[in-house]
């Protein structure tokens, strides 16, 4: 089992930054060795030997239908079916990644499932590459070299998280990244603990957390990345969710329950049902949204700390 010993929750900031910049599609091998369903395991064994690889995707056209691994070959040699076809003995339930996913996914999957490689599909579901621990380590080393060069040249600007604390109000912010579900929720968790520390009414804490989490998830699911800014005062919390694109084409639709542009994968996680923005609006006392195609979206939500002004939602 190969795992990549990087702590995606609390590793060094510089390392995490460069991991977040990379997508699975940036590091995968595109030079694919594939086999047809009727190829013999013996031929696939030769292919593995010649190319120095340990897994061969089995494809019909561009569609992935299985994977022949070195373990399948060893079993075939043992069991005496090395001359039979790939489709009879290949691994059929294969965990795949998408080229647009952040590299953090590949690292998490390698560590979680213990497989050595994951086929990568493009937006249309066609096989476009394969990613192994070796690919990831190579890409990380290249990026780390660049990063160290930058640091040495003194060009890397230190960016401490802006945090202002006056006697009664506190402001802080968190960046979000497209499809980074691994750290989604950090910003909202920080808001929740700040409100808890202040002894704000639990029902208000909850409304503020829900509003924040919905807006944070929206940035993760739909935007090219953005920032969650919070200003917690003595009697209200102001949440500003700002992203850098792509912008919402039809605001009215986006605020309608059930309308969503999320893909299948997001839906399989239980999100992207078109309830996010309506729920954030319902949970806040004031809500405004501005969006421009190509520029981005900014949502400002205000939650009053007085428990009396519950806007509708059952708490």
């Amino acid at each position: 089992m190969e795992s990549i010993p990087i702590d995606l929750n609390s590793g060094p900031k510089a390392v995490l930054e460069l991991i977040y910049r990379l997508k699975v599609g940036d590091v995968m091998s595109r030079d694919l060795a594939t086999a047809a369903p009727d190829a013999s395991l013996r031929d696939i064994r030769s292919l593995m030997r010649d190319r120095g690889i340990s897994g061969v995707p089995v494809v019909e056209g561009t569609r992935l239908i299985g994977l022949v691994t070195i373990e399948n070959i060893l079993e075939a040699l043992d069991g005496g079916w090395i001359d039979q076809s790939a489709q009879e003995h290949m691994t059929r339930s294969v965990i795949v990644l998408e080229a647009d996913m952040p590299l953090t996914f590949a690292i998490t999957y390698l560590n979680r499932y213990g497989y050595r490689r994951f086929p990568v599909l493009d937006k249309n579901g066609a096989l476009s590459g394969i990613v192994s621990a070796k690919d990831i380590i190579r890409a990380l080393l290249v990026e780390m070299n660049h990063e160290v060069e930058r640091l040495e040249e003194g060009l890397a600007k230190a960016e401490p998280a802006p945090e202002n604390t006056s006697a009664h109000s506190k402001s802080f912010s968190f960046p979000t990244r497209h499809w980074d579900f691994e750290t989604a929720g950090r910003a909202s968790a920080a808001l929740k603990s700040e409100l808890k520390k202040r002894g704000v009414d639990p029902a208000v804490q909850r409304r503020a957390s829900v509003t924040s989490y919905e807006l944070e998830l929206n940035q993760v699911i739909h935007s090219d990345g953005g920032v969650m800014e919070f200003e917690v005062g003595p009697d209200k919390t102001v949440i500003t969710a700002r992203d850098t694109g792509p912008g919402i084409a039809n605001l009215e639709s986006a605020l309608t329950e059930g309308f969503s542009t999320a893909n299948e994968w997001i839906r399989s996680l239980g999100f992207g049902a078109g309830l996010g923005l309506p729920n954030a609006r319902k949970s806040s006392n004031e809500f405004s949204i501005e969006s421009a195609i190509g520029k981005g979206t900014t949502v400002i939500a205000v939650i009053l700390h007085t428990p009396k002004t519950e806007p509708g939602s059952p708490v």
């Binding site: 979680r112 239980g270 992207g272």
Partner: protein, 112 residues
């Protein structure tokens, strides 16, 4: 009924048991986390098959009492860790959402 009494009324395996015991206010059954965010209330039990750490994040935002993962879905380690950090009870059951909901509905006197 308290969170600690869940294993008594249901057939389930506790996965994460570091939590602050308190009365259960009700339950909500859904695999759509966006829907859970909109409708589940504080101190509710969430009955679902969504076994990943984002489920814990949702539960934490809502101050839910416990999560029950149905159909013996495998629970990833990072989900267990997140539940421990957030002090949310996490159980796995071989039963379906329908069965778990039915039993809990009767036990809670149809709350939620």
């Amino acid at each position: 009924m308290n969170i600690s009494e869940l294993p008594r009324v249901l057939t389930l395996t506790p996965v994460q048991e570091a939590f602050d015991d308190r009365p259960i206010a009700g339950a909500y059954t859904s695999d759509l986390l966006s829907d859970v965010m909109a409708r589940a209330s504080a101190d509710y039990v969430l009955i679902t098959i969504q076994a990943h750490r984002n489920t814990v994040a949702v539960a934490s935002m809502l101050n839910l009492a416990a999560i029950i993962i149905c159909n013996d879905r495998p629970i990833p380690d990072d989900m267990v860790e997140a539940a421990r950090e957030e002090r949310i009870a996490l159980h796995v059951s071989g039963q379906t959402q329908f069965q778990v909901s039915g039993i809990l509905y009767a036990a809670l006197g149809s709350k939620g």
